[in-house]
């Protein structure tokens, strides 16, 4: 088990990242439910969660067989790519270079697409709604599974990271059940910025450990890395705003 700083960072990263993914999945499941009622949407969601559980149960035991340095290096590189991708997109959105994620617009587009699909394929709306919910849960859930494994596996933190992810999904579900509309007030880009910072910090930390680097201060180095990625994200966002005006 890692130190408190590693546990706190892993749980926070898993919680925030899962919240982003859960909000995105919820919007699509809600669109499916609005089209054809909650039954097919709930069935699709349950099937998606079942498939995800199967993937975790299948892959989980395999992780124990991978040598720790190889595991840290592989997960570190994947985290670095994933985290920097999120941070890049969040910085570009914050700079106004690309549009912000709009849950209301996604909800409307998804509902229209579902309607159109049902007409085009002449399939039952129940079937289309159920499959759409399943796909949304499976695709967004895969990212949650990766993040939980990535921030948890290298340091025996799988359980705290899983609890962080489950808490986020439960929170989104609870709020969604109450408000019954897309959760457009969640500051998605700020969350993505924060998660991108944490995942990139973890990525550098584990890639380095996988290459044999003994970071000074051990897990505390994560906080320094996060501060540096925060600075780089903010600076790049300022540069991007200026450049987009210059090159417009």
């Amino acid at each position: 088990m890692g130190s408190w700083s590693a546990i706190a960072t892993a749980v926070t990263a898993a919680f925030l990242a899962s919240m982003v993914e859960a909000v995105e999945a919820f919007t699509i499941v809600l669109a499916a439910a609005t089209l054809r009622g909650w039954r097919p949407a709930a069935l699709g969601t349950t099937a998606g969660l079942g498939l995800l559980a199967g993937i975790v149960l299948l892959l989980g035991p395999l992780l124990d067989r991978v040598p720790i340095h190889l595991l840290q290096l592989t997960i570190g590189i994947l985290l670095l790519l994933f985290g920097m991708g999120w941070l890049r997109k969040a910085a570009l959105r914050a700079a106004g270079v690309i549009p912000l994620h709009d849950e209301e617009a996604i909800f409307s587009a998804e509902a229209a697409e579902l309607d159109e699909q049902a007409c085009r394929r002449q399939k039952s709306l129940h079937w289309v709604a159920g499959i759409t919910a399943l796909k949304a849960v499976l695709l967004e859930g895969l990212e949650v599974v990766f993040i939980v494994i990535a921030v948890g596996a290298g340091r025996g933190l799988l359980i705290p990271a899983s609890l962080g992810a489950l808490a986020a999904c439960a929170a989104v579900l609870a709020v969604g059940a109450v408000v019954h509309r897309p959760l457009s007030r969640v500051p998605e880009n700020m969350l993505k910025f924060g998660v991108g910072i944490m995942l990139s910090a973890f990525g550098v930390f584990w890639t380095g450990e996988g290459l044999g680097v003994a970071w000074p201060g051990q897990d505390l180095a994560l906080l320094l890395f996060a501060a540096l990625f925060l600075g780089a994200g903010l600076i790049s966002s300022v540069f991007a705003r200026k450049l987009s005006v210059e090159f417009a």
Binding site: L80, R88, V97, I131, L211, A232, A240
Partner: protein
């Protein structure tokens, strides 16, 4: 089912390839760090610093490049 599998694969690839050039340069940076530490015998901590500051530089460069290209 085929469409779902295709979507699943493209989602998996998309998770790690936000932008091709960023992905390739990060992979090259990790490979270079590994070579410097393992083959050239560079001090691990210096290797770690190259990895850290290299990643930060690549991030800023990628965001600026996208801003110049109008967000692509």
């Amino acid at each position: 089912m085929n469409t779902m599998l295709k979507d699943l694969v493209s989602e998996l690839i998309g998770m790690f390839v936000a932008e091709k050039q960023l992905t390739l340069t990060v992979l090259a940076l990790v490979a270079l760090t590994g070579l410097l530490v393992d083959v050239a015998g560079l001090d691990e901590l210096v290797g770690g610093a190259i990895l850290l500051f290299g990643s930060l530089t690549l991030l800023v460069a990628s965001v600026c490049r996208a801003a110049r290209a109008g967000g692509s």
